[in-house]
């Protein structure tokens, strides 16, 4: 965990902040290790071991923020950076119109550790490179597969957060993931099919529990089937979406619009704003009654379940959409009071020591319903079953979206039949979720996550998990994703 020197650095920074007359300050010291093994076309293309150590100091002075950070952890650099953060905050305060007021939060003194059976950094490298090579071998055993890739990723973040309010939080958090992709060629066309474990806060058991050999064989077969499959005919279809696919749909069309900073205009110049404006909370019909979207940053193993966010707020569970009505935002200590909330829900996160925390999507998931997956499909006359992630794009207020997928099967008269290719569907978010008339039960619930959610200027990567069971959507417009569509 953190070293005694880290506490000394924290004390030094907070003393400088207190002396400045600032009303609030905190310091995050972080030591991150990342191991990335990447295989391409039956070779190990790179093995990278990245160590990233530094600290960031955040200061609220007369209602305005300043932040400074450095990768030099020393008794000389910490006070320089703390002073710089104070001076920057004073500059911000000199032009402030509305002063930042932080929602209150109890003082926390805690230590959060990711439970893990097998430390990924203790697993011999040969074992991991063998897995990557063997996976690519299986992928390319299928004739017709022209290219293959496989990768393993693991990250450990050791962090000390200390605030001027007295909170002291230590973190030792792990996350991991593995994936593979086959690309098949047929009559001048190419198509890819992938398998990915979820990104989860687990040890190397996450990788061992996934049967990469079986999954590689499956996706290789399906890549070939996909490239040979007929292109979809444009038109209206009922869609049954699998949990991995839904994780992206939820992320883009529910996650981002429920970020309160977007609704308040903070992201207007980059990621955009939100159609879920503050007056819609509690009365806007976002989806059908079957649609319940819950934020849960307390579920073990999920990416946003870190115990506390980077405001030092304890992780929580709350409703975003209840029976189809939009009811809740993802908030921070700064933004929560702006909509009359007395407490932040704990969704303020930075992607490392070098960035200031911003509001981030929580672990938003679709609550399971009561059907089985087969029952959802059985009630479809003409539809498409979609798995995995493909093309995606959405407007800056999160109304108009367009998604592809990784694999598509035609549903005819209640039966999943053959694969299709080049399926793209589009819609308007509340109309789309209002067309949801069934969600499979909890036994079909799966969790998928993202570590590359881009937001903020300078850009930061957000981490969160979206859980779902398969869900059915009626009469969705589908187009063919190629030139003559």
């Amino acid at each position: 965990m953190s070293t005694p020197a880290w506490d000394e650095f924290a004390e030094l920074a907070l003393k400088r902040i207190a002396k400045s007359g600032a009303e609030y300050g905190d310091i995050r010291i972080q030591d991150s290790s990342t191991e990335q093994i990447e295989g391409e076309d039956r070779r190990i293309a790179s093995v990278r071991d990245v160590k990233d150590i530094g600290f960031g100091v955040r200061v609220l002075y007369h209602g305005a923020w300043g932040f400074a950070a450095s990768s030099i952890l020393s008794l000389e650099e910490v006070p320089r950076v703390a002073d710089l953060a104070v001076e920057i905050a004073k500059g911000s305060a000199s032009v402030a119109l509305e002063k930042v007021r932080l929602a209150s939060e109890p003082v926390h003194r805690d230590r959060v550790v990711t439970p893990c059976r097998i430390d990924p950094f203790s697993v011999p490298l040969e074992k991991k490179t063998d897995l990557v090579l063997n996976t690519m071998d299986v992928l390319q055993r299928q004739s017709g597969v022209a290219r293959s890739s496989a990768s393993l990723w693991a990250r450990r973040d050791k962090t000390l957060f200390v605030s001027s309010e007295g909170s002291r939080l230590e973190f030792d958090l792990l996350a991991g993931q593995g994936e593979c992709t086959a690309t098949a060629l047929y009559e001048g066309r190419f198509a890819s099919r992938s398998f990915s474990t979820p990104y989860l806060r687990k040890g190397y058991e996450l990788i061992e529990e996934a049967d990469f050999s079986r999954e590689a064989s499956r996706v290789a077969d399906q890549a070939l089937e996909k490239v040979k499959a007929p292109a979809v005919d444009a038109g209206q279809y009922d869609l049954v979406l699998d949990p991995e696919h839904l994780s992206l749909t939820i992320h883009e069309s529910c996650g981002h619009p429920s970020e309160l900073d977007r609704a308040l205009g903070y992201e207007a110049n980059y990621a955009g704003t939100s159609f879920l404006t503050t007056e819609t909370r509690g009365n806007f019909r976002y989806g059908s009654r079957q649609v319940n979207l819950i934020a849960d940053n307390t579920e073990a193993e999920t990416l946003a379940a870190t115990g506390y966010d980077d405001d030092g707020v304890a992780c929580q569970r709350w409703d975003i959409v209840r029976h189809g009505i939009f009811v809740g935002y993802c908030t921070s200590r700064e933004t929560a009071p702006k909509i009359g909330e007395s407490r932040s829900c704990g969704s303020n996160r930075a992607d490392g020591w070098g960035n200031i925390p911003i509001v981030r999507i929580a672990n938003i998931g679709l609550e399971p319903g009561e059907a089985t997956r087969d029952q959802l499909i059985a009630d479809v006359k003409r539809g498409i079953y979609i798995e995995g992630h493909g093309s995606y794009s959405i407007d800056q207020r999160r109304y108009n979206f367009q998604f592809g997928g990784d694999a598509f099967w035609l549903i005819e008269n209640g039966r999943r039949t053959h694969m299709l290719r080049d399926v793209i569907y589009h819609g308007i978010t509340p109309e789309f979720w209002s067309s949801c008339d069934g969600v499979a039960d909890r036994s079909f619930r799966r969790r998928y996550g993202f570590i590359t959610c881009g937001k903020g200027q300078p850009g930061q990567s957000g981490w969160m998990t979206h859980a779902a069971a398969p869900a059915r959507f009626r009469r969705i417009q589908v187009i063919r994703g190629e030139g003559d569509s």
């Binding site: 070779r43 160590k51 923020w65 030099i72 090579l133 110049n269 960035n355 794009s393 407007d395």
Partner: protein, 446 residues
């Protein structure tokens, strides 16, 4: 004003990088060793709702060491520049390399060469700090407050020391600066946007670009809905750059060789209108040219598309060697130009349009189909109907569904190349263009 106005703390210099490199090279037991430096000092002032919401300053130094024993290689990096940490980084890289499988595509580091000397660091950006950034932010906010409309944007500046060294004697060191301004103006439901990027913070033209964004937002009020369909369009430079960025990203030579590229079998053939030429111009004062790449190769002038014909691909060193390509071209400073008489300005393009859609920018462009480079994305921050040579109304934003390989087969009119950058593309010089039959596949609600 109380904000510190001084420069950043001293960044790693050439001699210091040489010292650090020697520290690694003399201790390395590997057959080959490469050291890469990136010492980045950056600050951003971010504003929204006419006030500063974020004001940050960050220093991040990182040193990466790649070593190889035969064809086995490994890379480790650190942000800690103390001698012990650097030795530990070398040890970690060696440990990885010793037990990694042989990579059949591994190549030793490049031989030493004389890199071009370029004006990549502007003294005014090196000297700029929080005070300068705040001054520019206030300038933009002030104009918007006077108009009673809302400003959101950023002013950022950075200075980076970049270095590369290897046991072959290869050594390169360069300081690079980067300054950016972007602004989204909200006038009720309407938005207007403008952006700039330059080596020099003094070339951001904050006032001029603020006024452009304000004018667009004011014109954007009362947008009405046109049906999806094919329209003549006038694409402003940022919109053109958004489409070309994806074309450029798809020029990977290995994908080409493996026939998983939209350009398969098209090298030497026309891929766009024969009047279009794409080249790399690293010495252009308004572009972000560099002396060398992260692999330690010199950046040079090169022609990628010559009068519509695909001439170059983006090579990694192994694919270049396998393909007999001796000089690997770079494309960090793209200039897209069009042969023939051009319009003087975007306004001239508008004047010569009977009916069409003027697009300020595209947003969230993503590939729909990698085979034909079909892309989708949304118009953003200023979409207007032009009739009989005039902007007559704002229109609700469209989703497009187009391949640049089709869209840029048919040019109606164009300007000379202009500076273009947006939140999703690197800086380029591209013309504004009028294109017929551009495919808008759906409409959004604003």
């Amino acid at each position: 004003m109380t904000v510190l106005s001084g420069t950043w703390p001293k960044m790693t210099g050439s001699d210091e990088f040489r010292f650090l490199s020697e520290l690694v090279l003399t201790r390395s037991s590997a057959d080959h060793t490469i050291i890469s430096l990136r010492d980045h000092h950056a600050g951003t002032t971010r504003f929204a709702n006419n006030q500063v919401i974020q004001n940050v300053d960050v220093r991040r130094g990182s040193l990466a060491v790649t070593v190889a024993f035969g064809g086995r290689h490994g890379t480790a990096s650190t942000t800690d520049f103390t001698a012990g940490a650097i030795q530990d980084t070398l040890a970690r890289a060696e440990q990885i390399a010793r037990i990694s499988p042989v990579d059949p595509e591994y190549l030793p580091p490049p031989d030493p060469c004389t890199f071009p000397v370029r004006e990549t660091a502007s003294p005014e950006t090196m000297a700029a700090g929080p005070a300068k950034r705040l001054e520019y932010a206030n300038e933009a906010i002030g104009h918007c407050r006077m108009e009673n409309i809302m400003a959101a944007g950023v002013v950022s500046s950075s200075a980076t020391a970049v270095g590369i060294a290897a046991d072959t004697g290869l050594f390169g060191y360069e300081r690079r600066t980067d300054a950016r301004f972007s602004l989204t103006v909200q006038a009720g439901d309407a938005t207007g946007w403008s952006a700039a990027a330059h080596r020099s913070i003094d070339h951001l033209k904050v006032q001029e670009r603020t006024l452009v964004a304000i004018a667009k937002s004011k014109r954007g009020r009362d947008a009405y809905e046109l049906p999806a369909g094919r329209y003549s369009v006038i694409l402003e430079p940022a919109a053109v750059a958004g489409l070309w960025a994806w074309l450029i990203r798809s020029l990977d030579a290995k994908s080409y060789m493996k026939k998983t590229s939209p350009f398969a079998d098209k090298l030497g053939q026309a891929i766009v209108d024969k009047r279009l030429t794409l080249r790399n111009a690293p010495d252009h004062a308004d572009l972000l040219g560099e002396a060398f790449t992260h692999e330690g190769l010199p950046s040079t002038d090169s022609v990628w598309i010559d009068q519509g014909i695909l001439k170059q691909l983006a090579y990694d060193r192994f694919t270049a060697k396998a393909g007999g390509v001796n000089t690997i071209p770079t494309l960090e400073a793209p200039v897209l130009s069009i042969e023939g008489a051009s319009a003087h300005s975007i306004q001239d393009l508008i004047k010569s349009t009977e009916r069409g859609i003027l697009v300020t920018n595209f947003w969230y462009i993503r590939p729909v189909n990698s085979r034909d480079l079909m892309l989708t994305g949304m118009t953003r921050d200023g979409t207007f109907l032009v009739e009989k040579g005039e902007i007559v109304s704002a229109v609700k934003n469209f989703r497009f569904h187009e391949s640049p390989l089709l869209a840029f087969q048919r040019l109606s009119a164009w300007t000379t190349p202009m500076e273009a950058v947006n939140s999703e593309t690197a800086k380029m010089l591209v013309p504004a263009m009028a294109l017929p039959q551009f495919h808008f596949s759906s409409v959004t609600r604003f």
